[in-house]
Subunit: 216 residues, 2 copies
DNA sequence: CCTACCGATCGGTAGG
DNA sequence: CCTACCGATCGGTAGG
């Protein structure tokens, strides 16, 4: 049952500085799924990128669908850890809303594949992704919504902000900007992609201008 | 050469109230490409949706790639006609920027597949789509940019708006909201998709609040 | 617009 | 983790 298993493994199965084979599969799958889409990515191409044979890949993840779920779960897991940390800050002086958005932006800018993958999931499996977001994150967004309402009462935030809708829009704007902002900037430039930083800066301006009350 | 061609056609080749076969292929392809992606859509599935055989489809569009280009071109053609009409209005009293955004929103809300398809193109072929947007629309967005700058000088618009970046962000927000807003609303709701109208309304609020100067 | 067909590639299995 | 293999489906062609 377990005897001889080591015999079947190759050196690549060990951590060789690029992570375990399983980790490398997840990394290459994230990259390829986000770049070419789930349907546009063959198991063969993932195996090639990792440097193994296709059946070896299936040894680690029994099916393509199983691999997809694990890739997605690695993103979900990050935020299930991060949100409690961000939303219960030691210093209450900073604006939780802005710091959450900053974390959101950093997360997606750090690896553009993440934003592309999430957008693709929302397009390919809207109901399923809706359910996942709802199950995993709606308690946290409810908290943010309450926080926003408190800020409205204190006069910090505009009264015309619709808390829940605003939160959804911020996510749409952030992942939209990271995932398709570069290519969309063809609208205004003949040269090359507008630097991501500039788009993000204008995005932050838009969010803040539509959130904070004016203090003349 | 041309003799006998009619003999080969079936009645479905004529306009039977649902449009010509070619139009129906384009319509079903737009739907399926937007719903499942280009790679996720087989020619067989399109042929089935239209009610013809696969080789008949290839008679109308010599390759899948050719079909994709024609589907995309139908969207581009619409805006090449529409933009001149919107941006040279008879009554100059209305805000061209807002009326353009309204047209944009109406266009994508009218058929959600359009927004999904554009987002998929931006993800699947970023460089190509960048070039297409640049070639087809950058003169028009330049015009809108100039108009925006004039409004800034007259005090109508905020001085901190970055005209070109703002235009790109508005497009990202509009197509993002229409394409993935519904599924993203899982963040704040356990029930069902947030009505699209509410998301659009908050989007318009955000755009206006971040565009117009305050007039207290 | 259809029937008949093709080579290539797909996700996945058997078995070691 | 690999070799050998499988049925199904892919985009596309020949020919009428």
């Amino acid at each position: 049952m377990q005897a001889g298993r080591e015999f079947l493994m190759k050196e690549t199965d060990l951590d060789n500085g690029h992570g375990t084979v399983k980790e490398r599969i997840l990394k290459e799958a994230l990259y390829l799924f986000s770049e070419r889409g789930f349907e546009g990515t063959s198991l063969q191409s993932i195996a090639d990128a990792v440097g193994i044979q296709k059946p070896s890949l299936i040894y680690h993840f029994p099916s393509k669908e199983d691999l997809r779920r694990h890739v997605l779960e690695s993103l979900v897991a990050y935020w299930k850890n991060e949100l409690p940390r961000i939303l219960t800050p030691a210093d209450s002086s900073s604006d939780r809303l802005v710091s959450t958005m900053t974390s959101l932006i950093n997360f997606f800018v750090e690896d553009l594949n993440r934003a592309r993958l999430v957008v693709r999931e929302l397009l390919d499996r809207p109901e399923e992704t809706f359910a996942l977001l709802s199950e995993q994150f709606s308690p946290w967004t409810r908290l943010i919504g309450d926080y926003l309402r408190m800020g409205q009462q204190s006069g910090l935030y505009r009264k015309d902000v619709a808390p829940e809708l605003f939160i959804v829009q911020v996510l749409v704007m952030v992942i939209g900007t990271v995932a398709i902002g570069g290519a969309t900037s063809g609208l205004v430039s003949t040269e090359s992609y507008t630097p991501r930083g500039l788009l993000i800066k204008e995005l932050v301006r838009i969010v803040q201008a539509s959130l904070y009350s004016e203090q003349p």
